[in-house]
């Protein structure tokens, strides 16, 4: 029996526009006092009319373009009619027949995942369940009602749960690069709903298990775990019941992160009938080819392009390049090091510097940011500091490990890293006269070790250690070793 999971993902992303999708209310709703960001439009009061937010529409198109989608020059909104207490109008304004953008694709770990569509819609309000005066109650908060939402629907091209996670990471990165949403899964500004079923090949026959759509997954790990659970559950269910997919047995399952299992929420009688029809309150929307191009011009350099640039121009490894490009602001801060008067004109030196700086960015700054849970503050990245530091290491005044140490300190304090090294006495002494003086003292003080060296040249490490100690750690170890060897081979010196 061969089992191949078939996984598709619906991703909802809240855009961080100033105002809501169809009214002028503040779109920021996280932790806002309930029902303070509302008006007749987002409350669905009688007679109130939606007016689309132009910026949100443009951002949706921008996102579609970044996902490689085609933009429909003619598109329109539709009403999706269904009842839910926190749906103020009893319909959601969304797109169905003619979404803004369609047919894209992105590459995730070398595999292409097709995007069916990225369309524009509005968010719903929130139902808050709580016990009031001993009674189980549901309260409605419409602050989120009408917040702009882009829905990205993938084709079911994903076969592994890890791939689903990587896909989501990629989408998240892309959205953050565009600066149109925080795409924060924990805070709900990015929400993922996987749909899973299995293709089972057994004795030359092929079966497809019933589809399950999984809701309430609030983390990337959750998505991965929920899919894995569902694959296992469907495998067992198929073995027991042999039930296969039909047009009426798609179910909606919830994800219980604590118990690490999915549970049945709703059995659909066929596909729900949302009675879609074109929204009569909003005229169709047209994007001219010139307007689409104008939006395309606003696309920033995306991570793929950065990764390629880092490898070809800066000579970085694929691994380093990817890590640097992960976060747009981080990458921008790194790139700013090359946009300065101090930059070397020599290509080879440039590459050495690029690698040196990448090590500091990934080794020191990123580690620090991870520890403190901060985002990079580009104002704290001073190109001159990095070039000075680079030159000091090249001149062997500083070791690479000291450079890493002082970079973190410099980022924290804003002080020049070489100054920090000096203050901490971490400047390497490479001056051979100075080192030779100390070496001589070490040789005189350690006759036993000198004898050992004559028998076994490998034992020079002890003497190097003594020399480093005597220098207070500031001697360049390479230079120290060379001088010691010279002295020991020629005791008359």
């Amino acid at each position: 029996m061969k089992i191949t999971p078939i996984i598709g993902l619906e991703v909802h992303v809240e855009l961080k526009t100033d105002s809501k999708m169809f009214c002028g209310c503040n779109a920021e709703h996280f932790h806002a006092k309930p029902n303070t960001h509302t008006c007749p439009v987002c409350l669905g009061m009688p007679g109130a009319l939606p007016v689309p937010n132009k910026k949100a529409c443009q951002w949706c198109v921008k996102l579609g373009l970044a996902l490689g989608c085609t933009v429909n020059e003619y598109s329109f909104f539709e009403r999706k009619n269904y009842f839910y207490p926190d749906l103020s109008k009893s319909y959601q304004i969304t797109q169905y027949q003619k979404p803004f953008t369609v047919n894209g694709k992105i590459t995730v770990q070398g595999q292409e995942i097709r995007i069916n569509r990225a369309h524009m819609e509005e968010d719903t309000g929130k139902s808050v369940h709580m016990v009031i005066n001993g009674e189980e109650s549901t309260l409605l908060d419409f602050n989120r009602s009408g917040v702009p939402l882009v829905e990205i629907v993938s084709e079911p091209d994903i076969v592994l749960s890890i791939q689903a996670k990587e896909y989501l990471l990629k989408i998240q990165q892309l959205i953050r690069y565009l600066g149109i949403s925080n795409a924060d899964i924990e805070k709900g500004s990015m929400r993922c709903e996987p749909t899973v079923n299995l293709k089972i090949e057994d004795n030359g026959k092929t079966f497809y298990t019933p589809l399950s759509e999984i809701k309430n997954v609030a983390s990337l790990t959750g998505v991965q775990n929920a899919i894995d659970f569902e694959i296992e559950r469907q495998t067992q269910a198929f073995k027991e019941t042999k039930e296969v997919k039909n047009s009426k047995n798609k179910t909606t399952r919830g994800w219980d992160a604590d118990k690490a299992r999915t549970f049945l929420q709703r059995e659909k009688e066929g596909s729900a009938d949302y009675r879609y029809f074109p929204e009569p309150d909003i005229p169709p929307i047209e994007f001219t080819p010139a307007e689409i191009e104008e939006i395309r011009m606003t696309l920033p350099e995306m991570s793929e392009q950065k990764i390629e640039k880092y490898q070809t121009i800066y000579g970085l490894s694929d691994y380093d390049a990817k890590l640097l490009a992960e976060d747009q602001n981080f990458a921008a801060a790194y790139e700013a090091l090359f946009d300065t008067e101090f930059v070397s004109k020599d290509q080879d030196t440039l590459k050495v510097f690029a690698k040196f700086a990448a090590n500091l960015f990934l080794g020191s700054i990123k580690t620090y940011l991870n520890e403190t849970q901060e985002n990079i503050d580009s104002s704290k990245i001073v190109a001159k500091y990095f070039w000075d530091l680079f030159n000091s290491v090249q001149n062997k005044e500083l070791s690479s490990s000291v450079a890493k140490q002082v970079t973190t300190e410099s980022y924290k304090t804003g002080k020049h890293p070489v100054e920090i090294a000096k203050e901490m006495g971490l400047i390497q002494v490479s001056d051979s006269n100075q080192i030779e003086k100390i070496a001589k003292e070490v040789v005189v003080a350690n006759p036993k070790a000198v004898q050992d060296y004559q028998k076994n040249p490998m034992s020079i490490g002890f003497l190097i250690g003594q020399l480093m100690r005597a220098s207070g750690g500031s001697a360049n170890p390479q230079v120290a070793k060379e001088i010691l060897e010279k002295l020991l081979k020629n005791p008359t010196l």
């Binding site: 007749p40 007679g47 689309p52 009619n81 409605l140 596909s271 009938d273 009675r275 009569p280 309150d281």
Partner: protein
């Protein structure tokens, strides 16, 4: 002075400006008339109990300073109950005012009350109102038409100086015809729908119902213009009242044969033919037209409007507004069910989509006609006001009554109904339809017709029918 309530808008404005009388006297006379006639007519659902107070402090520089205006009860009025004549909204006090209401208030007008209508504007009789039907001032045993029946009745009965209605298909023109007053339905998008309880969103058009064409034109000039809060509002400056014509010379006016259906009341037909003759005397060339049978418009209109209604009324879930869905009347329930069915998967293509395609054909048919003529005339309604109870048990009552206004509605065209005759003491209306945005033309033709006839000057004898209304009395709600 007394009987100031009988003045036209133009006369009332002049009287206040020249201080012949005060706004308070004007409002007071309207209120007296309302007190006297409401038990019979039931034109209002809610009266504005502040109206008299508001009339004490008016700004003479404003165009409608101190003018009492009756507004259909589907226009949201901040702090003044708005029910759309449905019990479901009997406790709804809006937190905002409709664009039209804002414009009128900005112009200095005083909302004297909210007029009765078919519940949710579903109908052409006011008989579906949950607050009882309104009565036709010409004969209270007859209906005023609808859905803006209350507004039209206030004009015929001089309960206000001017009024506001809304039309999805016929709801301004048909009651105006039945009540012998002037109803102007603007081009779709000319007047903002913002704050009007939605019925058929793709067709809803607010507009004036008045005692004269000039009055209607003045109101349109004040309530039209682009509203950024309505995405379907046309990006046009407020409509300007055109220079009056002295003759119709050079104008071609079409008379569609299909607008005289077999069941038309003979006196109505004769009045319209007489009106055509009058327009000819005034210089117009009358051309017979072969237009698409209006029966197709009924089918298309019914599908599209019910579909939109089923979605628009979905928000009244019982969670908000205080009453649940059992408070919907039979007509609303019928429309919700039909619309829900038409939009259901598997039926969408056969009904909604097909209807949209036929709508396009209707639009094209009008475009074709307007290559031949400048305006089209016809009866507003095939009958005069029908007796109370006529709509009972007739689910398609409104559509049959509105057969002659539905085609132009679907095409978003402007139209005006003006009084053009009487039969058995009940008024007859002539409608004039023009291309989109050509209200100037319909107003000018209507104005010239009006100034050369005296139908608009005739008034119902309001003292001859003292019998009490079966409808409930309006309540004043702050």
């Amino acid at each position: 002075m007394s009987d100031l309530n009988k003045l036209t808008l133009t006369q009332a404005i002049d009287g206040i400006k020249t201080k012949k009388f005060s706004a308070k006297e004007l409002v007071s006379d309207c209120l007296t008339q309302i007190q006297k006639l409401e038990p019979t007519l039931n034109s209002f659902v809610t009266l504005n109990e502040n109206a008299l107070n508001e009339s004490e402090n008016i700004n003479f520089s404003k165009p409608l300073a101190g003018i009492p205006i009756a507004v259909k009860d589907n226009f949201c009025t901040q702090d003044l109950r708005t029910t759309a004549s449905s019990k479901l909204l009997e406790n709804f006090i809006p937190q905002y005012s409709a664009y039209v209401v804002e414009k009128l208030k900005d112009a200095g007008a005083i909302i004297i009350g909210k007029t009765n209508m078919d519940s949710w504007a579903h109908g052409s009789s006011t008989e579906t109102s949950d607050f009882g039907p309104s009565k036709n001032p010409w004969n209270p045993k007859h209906l005023p038409g609808g859905s803006s029946g209350g507004s039209a009745a206030t004009m015929a009965a001089d309960e206000a100086i001017v009024s506001i209605g809304s039309e999805t298909a016929g709801s301004i023109r048909q009651p105006s015809a039945w009540c012998g007053v002037v109803g102007l339905k603007p081009t779709y998008g000319r007047v903002s729908r913002c704050g009007v309880v939605a019925m058929g969103s793709s067709m809803d058009s607010p507009g004036p119902i008045a005692k004269t064409v000039d009055d209607a034109a003045l109101i349109l000039s004040l309530i039209s213009g682009h509203d950024p809060a309505d995405a379907t509002s046309l990006n046009k400056k407020p409509w300007q009242i055109p220079e009056a014509l002295t003759s119709l010379k050079g104008l071609k006016i079409g008379l569609p044969k299909a607008y005289f259906p077999k069941k038309i009341k003979p006196e109505v037909k004769q009045s319209i033919l007489n009106a055509a003759e009058k327009l000819k005397e005034l210089g117009a060339e009358i051309i017979e037209l072969d237009v698409m049978d209006p029966k197709y418009a009924i089918a298309v209109y019914t599908i599209l409007q019910r579909s939109e209604v089923s979605s628009n009324l979905g928000r009244y879930t019982g969670i908000r507004y205080g009453h649940d869905r059992t408070f919907f009347g039979d007509e609303a329930k019928r429309r919700i069910m039909l619309g829900t069915y038409a939009l259901s998967s598997g039926y969408y293509d056969a009904y909604y989509l097909k209807a949209q395609k036929v709508r396009t054909l209707i639009i094209q048919d009008f475009e074709k006609q307007f290559q031949k003529v400048d305006a089209i005339i016809g009866p507003t309604s095939p009958t005069t006001a029908l007796p109370i109870g006529a709509s009972a048990g007739q689910a398609m009552f409104g559509e049959l009554e509105d057969i002659l206004v539905e085609p132009s509605t679907l095409a978003g065209l402007p139209g005006i109904s003006v009084p053009c005759g009487f039969a058995d003491g009940l008024p007859i209306g002539l409608q004039i339809i023009t291309p989109q945005l050509r209200e100037d033309l319909s107003v000018n033709i209507a104005r010239l017709f009006e100034s050369n006839t005296d139908y608009h000057l005739q008034k119902p004898n309001l003292n001859c029918h003292p019998e009490q209304s079966e409808g409930s009395r309006p309540e004043a709600v702050k």
